[in-house]
């Protein structure tokens, strides 16, 4: 079975659903090389999850790159997974890492995307105590922060928020006055802003 082929076929059907194209840093981009660290989102498509997980991680650990966020989930194509890794690094290093990732057997393609080229979001859950509701207007905070209530139990209320990592932390601080019993964030997921795969990338994903 050829996952890559299958993946491409599906991609062609849902081009806007998965758009990993965008700023693939090309081999001859030396003239515009940025030496300052910036935030990169690596979008890595793989043929399995557990088998490549460790190999993907060693690409970062070997180079002492600390990663801000690391998430993985299955794509809309069964058997094809996507890892999203966010890290601060230079363009040169992002490109080296991208190539090392693509060298892993089981990785279909990896893309190094600039912050300006992606939409990034994360999900956060907050478990807030019912005991100190008098400390402010919880309802207003929820509304102003575009959060929502998931469940209300006898002694706590569960709130959910989607947003930038900065926003989810912001909300955490605002909720602290009420007593936050639990807080969990998903890590960043991202999608490229460019609507279509470039012809080149479509070709590459085919895996030839």
């Amino acid at each position: 079975m050829d996952f890559a082929q299958e993946f491409t076929t599906t991609l062609n059907g849902h081009q806007t659903a998965v758009a990993p194209a965008a700023a693939v840093l090309s081999e001859d981009s030396q003239s515009t090389v940025q030496m300052e660290p910036e935030s990169f989102t690596l979008s890595i498509f793989t043929e399995n999850r557990i088998g490549v997980l460790h190999r993907i991680i060693t690409v970062f650990t070997r180079r002492h790159l600390s990663v801000d966020s690391f998430t993985t989930s299955e794509t809309e194509v069964p058997g094809i997974f996507r890892f999203i890794v966010v890290l601060e690094t230079t363009q040169v290093m992002a490109e080296k890492v991208r190539k090392q990732l693509e060298k892993i057997i089981g990785v279909i393609r990896a893309f190094a995307l600039r912050e300006s080229d992606v939409v990034r979001q994360e999900l956060a859950l907050y478990k807030v105590s019912m005991e100190k509701l008098q400390n402010g207007s919880l309802e207003k905070i929820i509304r102003d922060n575009h959060a929502r209530v998931l469940t209300v139990e006898s002694d706590y209320i569960m709130i959910e928020k989607t947003g930038h990592p900065g926003d989810t932390i912001d909300l955490f601080h605002k909720l602290e006055a009420f007593g936050v019993l639990g807080f969990s964030r998903s890590g960043t997921i991202a999608i490229s802003k460019k609507p279509l795969l470039s012809p080149e990338d479509r070709l590459m994903i085919k895996g030839k």
Binding site: E27, K96, K103, I205, K208
Partner: protein, 579 residues
């Protein structure tokens, strides 16, 4: 418990039900494996039991240490370009493979290691002789896979062979749980030629080829860096055609040695830390550099910031991750060296660069006067490593397979053996593994009996894997071991002398009687103490039919020059110690 192979072959192939272990052996046979280097133990015992019935079809060599098995497999592979195969048990058997696997990874040597593993229900329980081989070898394998069911075996092995020897070759481990080996499966074998999205052979774009050709056609001082990739691709003839048409002088990496005959008029010598003077002093004068099948290792480049300062760089490379890794390429030609050269040759103009090449000849003269003549025609009291290598090079007419260990003797051999055969240099480059030579020489010798095998080793390195002498003796493998005994861990001593104010810290060797050791293992052995004895002793060694250990007492504190001190630029290469 198992049917014999004769009975098996009577059954139509698609109906064969075999044990997991038999599936392992049958898969190896399907991959045309004729030799395995291994060592038995608990978890791999079922495979050894199956092997019992196939001894007439597969030669198993019982090495004396699993590390020896890996290096033997590497030696075997380096002279045949076939996949080297190792077999080992779980736990300590597998951990003993680690050094050789790492070495094979660094030097792009195709190798498949099959390890036994505890039964699948015991995984993760710290069972007897359980080690997490897969996690341990992630960083040093091209691919690895743990098999927990017998029916996975044929496909896993087929993938392993394909991955190990396609694209940029490398080592693969297949770790097989004991219950999978004992279980049974239908045996059907299909060779693998594609694994998911893995693209072993990228193709250089027409546009980049044209850009490269334009650069080469207008270059004033072009230089070609020749790497191991040329031999891996089997591109030696195309390479020669390419340089002869373009007239570009060539510097070889250490691992590129023997790709081009050493006496080829365009061969300027070896690059790097202990390479030749011309290649190092002139690299930064080149205006166009074409690097073929090499990866700009730091031992080649010296300080990367001051390397190829005046050159546009064309990088011909099969592994995209090597492009721009150490040295930025102006033009990247992705692909197998043979494929790229085949495309490029018709696009380049016939040229010659007499003035530019003269600079290399001038540099050669300087090096000859300052270094080489004193090395190979040494007058001092003690024998020098270089003169030994020089004599062996002459006496074997450059036609031997040359295997080395790691240290000063390796550099002396790389510098002074003049190759006329190809795939004839077997040495640990990227990892620099002491203990490599004796087992690697054994592997190389049994793989190719058409030429003599010289094994250069230091007194330190020799003691790391000398247990494999037993194998040389019982297999009567005619490896000629030239033990260059300086009584020191010479290369470390040289650095202590030059960069640590002569503070010799734990580099003096208290050695055994090597001749007695050789004889105890069953080798013919002799010692040379003086220059006067050298030539005759070498003749006796070369004339001897079986394995031979020739210990040669060499100058204790001899140094290898030229040298690029680490951190320096290639053009800061020094010819002699500063006084």
């Amino acid at each position: 418990m198992q049917s014999s192979p004769q009975a098996l072959s009577a059954i139509p192939p698609e109906k064969r039900i075999v044990s997991g272990s038999e599936a392992v052996i049958l898969s190896l046979l399907e991959e045309n494996v004729d030799t395995i280097f291994g060592y038995p133990g608990g978890a791999i015992m079922p495979v050894y039991d199956a092997l019992y019935d196939f001894q007439d079809q597969i030669r198993h060599i019982l090495m004396r240490h699993e590390q020896g098995a890996t290096h033997a497999a590497q030696g075997y592979s380096r002279v045949t370009r076939k996949v080297g195969v190792c077999l080992a048990t779980s736990g300590p058997g597998a951990t003993n493979l680690v050094t050789g696997i790492a070495d094979a990874m660094m030097d792009s040597t195709p190798m498949v290691c099959i390890t036994g593993q505890v039964a699948s229900h015991l995984l993760g329980t710290d069972a007897f002789q359980e080690t997490d081989v897969i996690s341990m070898t992630i960083g040093i394998t091209k691919w690895n896979y743990q098999v927990t069911r017998a029916e996975e075996i044929p496909l896993a092995i087929a993938k392993a062979f394909f991955i190990a020897n396609s694209g940029r070759p490398g080592p693969v481990i297949i770790d097989i749980c004991k219950d999978a080996l004992l279980g049974s499966t239908e045996f059907e074998y299909e060779h693998v030629t594609k694994v998911g999205a893995y693209t072993p052979l990228p193709v250089a774009s027409k546009q980049n080829l044209q850009e490269a050709a334009d650069l080469l056609n207008t270059a004033q001082r072009p230089y070609c860096l020749l790497g191991h990739g040329v031999m891996i691709a089997g591109a030696q003839d195309l390479f020669k055609e390419f340089i002869e048409k373009t007239g570009i002088p060539v510097g070889s990496t250490m691992q590129g040695l023997s790709a081009l005959p050493s006496d080829h008029p365009l061969h300027t010598g070896m690059l790097g830390m202990h390479g030749n003077y011309g290649p190092n002093i002139l690299s930064n004068k080149a205006d166009v550099v074409i690097a073929i099948g090499m990866r700009f290792d730091d031992r080649v480049t010296g300080d990367v910031k001051r390397y190829l300062t005046d050159a546009q760089v064309i990088h011909v490379e099969i592994d995209p991750a090597e492009i721009d890794k150490n040295i930025m390429a102006d033009v990247a030609l992705l692909g197998d060296a043979a494929d790229v050269l085949r495309e490029l040759i018709p696009m380049v103009e016939k040229r010659s660069h007499p003035e530019w090449r003269k600079l290399f000849h001038d540099a050669d003269k300087v090096e000859y006067e300052k270094v080489i003549q004193h090395d190979i025609h040494a007058q001092g009291e003690f024998v020098r490593m270089a003169e030994v290598v020089h004599q062996l090079s002459e006496k074997t007419k450059g036609e031997a397979t040359v295997v080395t260990d790691v240290g000063q003797h390796q550099m002396a051999t790389a510098r002074y053996y003049k190759f006329r055969e190809t795939d004839a240099w077997v040495s640990s480059g990227g990892l620099g593994t002491m203990g490599y030579a004796v087992p690697a020489a054994f592997g190389a010798a049994i793989a190719r009996q058409d030429r003599p095998v010289l094994c250069f080793v230091g007194d330190g390195a020799f003691q790391m894997t000398l247990q494999e002498l037993t194998v040389l003796a019982y297999e009567k493998t005619p490896v000629k071991i030239i033990l260059l005994n300086n009584g020191f861990l010479g290369m470390v001593r040289q650095w202590q002398e030059l960069f640590f104010e002569g503070r010799y810290s734990f580099v003096h060797m208290h050695n055994p009687d090597f001749v007695a050791v050789g004889k105890a293992f069953g080798l013919e052995a002799e010692r040379v103490d003086t220059r006067a004895q050298l030539s005759d002793a070498i003749d006796r060694m070369l004339a001897h039919e079986g394995p031979f250990l020739l210990e040669i007492k060499v100058e204790q504190e001899g140094n290898i020059f030229p040298m690029i001190p680490s951190g320096c630029s290639v053009d800061e290469v020094i010819l002699e110690p500063k006084h």
